[in-house]
């Protein structure tokens, strides 16, 4: 019987009736496979957005992580954030995240396997799950990536993660402070990954822009008097 079964399967495969599940997915519409991200960040992703089933790593910047959730939650997707008790929800709302579709699990339990179970449960129902990777061991992480792939969810890791499709980090941070308040931050986000994303991509954005959202860097309004270097020297001179 096993032999017969194998023969039958190989025959079917040869005739084109049987294929890998991934090939079926690839025939569907791009809009269904990709969750949207804000316009300034879209250039970082090979498909112009977060690919369902993918794992994306964000290094160092919480606001970058939150900005990835913004467009998708505003469009009706649900997002969960696990193991980040210090998350600034107000900043998330300002970045455009629909906080009524943002579930928070601040304390997913002490043990690594327990928190992996929580993440797995959330991957069943959420389009986006962000995890602080600190406490997870590598075998759990690989299993969770596989689960995200199977469920068509996007797994976002805050911190290192094995087998990531894409890694994002912020460089060239430059704050603007207009004397009354912190105004905006210019950053260059670098994306580097596997496959189609092997070539590093860069995007200069305002994260956050003066209204708290993500803005394209062309709006930066780089007036000499607005830069912190020059402004701060003025300020220090005045104070001294």
């Amino acid at each position: 019987m096993p032999v017969l079964g194998a023969l039958a399967t190989s025959g079917l495969a040869a005739s084109g009736a049987v294929g890998a599940a991934s090939s079926l997915v690839s025939t569907t519409d791009t809009a269904q496979r990709v969750l949207p991200v804000s316009a300034g960040l879209a250039g970082l992703f090979p498909l112009g957005g977060l690919r369902r089933g993918g794992t994306v790593v964000v290094h160092g910047s919480t606001s970058l992580l939150l900005s990835l959730l913004a467009e998708a939650t505003a469009g009706g997707s649900w997002a969960a954030v696990v193991g980040m008790p210090d998350l600034g929800v107000l900043a998330a709302a300002e970045l455009g995240v629909a906080v009524h579709r943002l579930a928070l699990v601040p304390a997913p339990g002490q043990s690594a396997s327990g928190s992996a179970g929580v993440v797995a449960a959330l991957l069943d129902g959420f389009d986006l799950v962000a995890v602080a990777s600190g406490r997870l061991v590598e075998s759990h992480a690989r299993r969770l990536s596989a689960r995200a792939r199977h469920r068509g969810a996007v797994l976002l890791s805050f911190g290192p993660w094995p087998a990531a499709d894409l890694e994002l980090r912020c460089t060239h941070v430059r704050w603007h402070l207009d004397g009354k308040r912190l105004r905006q931050r210019e950053v260059v986000v670098t994306a580097r990954g596997r496959g189609a994303a092997a070539r590093p991509r860069k995007a200069a954005v305002l994260l956050p822009a003066p209204d708290g959202r993500v803005g394209p860097a062309s709006e930066a309004g780089v007036m000499p008097g607005n830069r912190w270097e020059t402004r701060s020297s003025d300020w220090l001179a005045k104070q001294a």
């Binding site: 929800v89 107000l90 998330a92 009524h100 943002l102 959330l122 959420f126 402070l177 009354k180 912190w228």
Partner: protein, 519 residues
């Protein structure tokens, strides 16, 4: 028309509230909800306090008034012993609301030899068992019996219409029983229909043509008829819902959690048949085989939240009962009486196309609640406040999303956008120093006492200050505990990378902490 016996405990919210606080004995008491008096004791009434009065007016009339906040769960919990005491003498007890139980009058009247004897026995029984004063009324139909209980009357069989006729039409507005008819009553009085008899004399057809469905119900009550026509539907047996609780429930918060899930299931089952429940039977059995059951009656068809509330109240009542030797192991909800549930369908536009995603996410969150406990997962809600941390409240999934503080209120000293992306739940200490190495403070005019030059975060090596913004003053509760607070945003030169880091620093009584980080 069934004869009904109603046991009514006057001013129940006040009695329940006073029972939890020993200080209230012998003093005028009242219960407030939303700044209005919803119930008051006889002493308070004699001092001029009335229901619906504003809190300040009531305190003006009666300065020694002791006020409690409204708490339906407390009312229900403390009422359970009264319902149990009535049940010892009469079968078929229905809780109309905390403070009022109804039983069919025939059983106790036959057993104790007359309605008057039965009423007397019940009053004695409640007083002896629970120490609560109550009044009993007997009449045809629940509405007439309730009004009879308010007057302590026994209305002869068939005389209910005559009993109701001279009473004021105001009796139709019963906010405590969930029947809000203030507008209708006002309208009727302006039309010259001042008594229930005058209203009942209007043909039902004209009432329905002029006033709508709720007025028809009120008209039926005024005419001494049952609230609903007798053609009620007998529910098919499979609509009752049974849940085995493993592990058995012994704590009140766990009971609330179980109640919510079961209520949703129960309501969904009824809704699938086009029904809604007006009389809900709640039955529980413990690990040791003890059985408890209670019927709750509601004037309005019960919503999922209404079912959950009643189950929670009932479980709280039982769990506080010392006679229960173990936790509740199984819980059964039975629809004792159902009506057409068309008015109760969830609105069509809720979620606007994202309903499937909402449901999937909701199920995942319930799963996580099962793993970690009901408080472990929630959605945040934004409210008012000064610091970024104060303005966010995490609401456990399934609870009502209400902010901790009013967003519309003025909040002087509120920080402008952008907000820090990291807000520390436990702020770390920081040191802010000037050129000479002294700690920078905030003077009474909310200005910094010196120019900050370096900042050390959580015991790490100090970093040079590039620029600062602020301070934002936040003097909170200066009348009780003096807390002079001020916040500044600081841009620091990081030694590791070339990129500067931005932090939110808070100064309280010369001590600095780092509240958030703009990362």
């Amino acid at each position: 028309m069934t004869r009904r016996l109603v046991v009514w405990c006057p001013d129940w919210p006040v009695v329940a509230a006073a029972a939890t606080a020993a200080t209230a004995a012998g003093r005028p008491t009242g219960v407030v909800a939303g700044n209005h008096i919803v119930a008051c004791s006889a002493l308070a009434r004699s001092a001029g306090v009335r229901r619906g009065m504003r809190r300040r007016d009531a305190q003006g009339r009666c300065p020694e008034l002791v006020l409690f906040t409204d708490d339906p769960a407390r009312d229900a919990r403390l009422f359970e012993p009264v319902a149990a005491a009535v049940e010892e003498l009469a079968v078929g007890v229905e809780v109309v609301r905390p403070g009022v139980v109804a039983v069919p009058a025939r059983g106790p009247a036959g057993y104790f030899g007359g309605e008057a004897a039965a009423a007397e026995r019940l009053i004695d029984q409640v007083a002896v068992r629970t120490g609560v004063e109550c009044q009993v009324g007997i009449a045809d139909g629940l509405f007439a019996a309730l009004l009879a209980a308010h007057r302590g009357q026994l209305v002869e069989p068939g005389a209910s219409v005559d009993f109701l006729a001279p009473l004021s039409v105001r009796e139709l507005n019963r906010p405590a029983e969930g029947q809000h008819r203030a507008e209708l009553v006002d309208l009727l009085r302006r039309l010259g229909l001042r008594t229930l008899g005058a209203f009942a004399a209007v043909p039902e057809r004209d009432v329905s043509a002029r006033f709508g469905a709720d007025a028809v119900l009120a008209h039926r009550l005024a005419s001494g008829l049952e609230e609903r026509p007798p053609a009620r539907r007998r529910p098919p047996p499979e609509l009752s819902v049974t849940e085995t609780l493993d592990p058995p429930v012994t704590r009140v918060d766990a009971a609330a959690f179980a109640a919510r899930g079961l209520a949703e299931l129960f309501h969904a089952g009824l809704a699938a048949h086009g029904f809604a429940c007006t009389r809900l039977g709640i039955h529980a059995s413990t690990e040791h085989g003890e059985e408890r059951g209670r019927v709750w009656r509601s004037a309005e068809p019960l919503t999922p939240a209404g079912v959950a509330d009643r189950v929670r109240w009932q479980l709280e009542g039982w769990l506080r009962d010392e006679r229960l030797s173990a936790g509740v192991a199984t819980l059964r909800l039975e629809p004792d009486e159902v009506v057409e549930g068309h008015s109760l369908q969830l609105d069509l536009w809720r979620g606007a196309g994202t309903a499937a995603a909402d449901e999937r996410a909701g199920r995942a969150m319930v799963h996580v609640q099962g793993l970690l406990g009901p408080d472990a997962v929630g959605t945040p809600v934004l409210g008012g406040g000064r610091s970024p941390g104060e303005r966010v409240r995490l609401v456990p999934w399934g609870d009502e999303r209400t902010p901790a503080m009013d967003q519309a209120a003025p909040w002087p000293g509120q920080l402008p956008a952008p907000s820090p992306a990291t807000v520390f739940t436990r702020p770390a200490p920081a040191a802010v120093r000037d050129k000479a190495g002294r700690t920078v403070g905030v003077d009474p005019w909310h200005e910094l006492t010196a120019v900050p030059v370096e900042v050390a975060l959580a015991g790490r090596p100090p970093m040079r200050v590039v620029d600062i913004a602020g301070p934002w003053p936040a003097d909170e509760r200066w009348w009780s505990e003096h807390r002079r607070r001020a916040r500044i945003q600081a841009l620091l030169e990081s030694s590791e990378e070339d990129s500067p880091i931005a932090v939110l620093l808070m100064c309280e009584n010369e001590r600095w902490t780092v509240e958030g980080m703009y990362d």
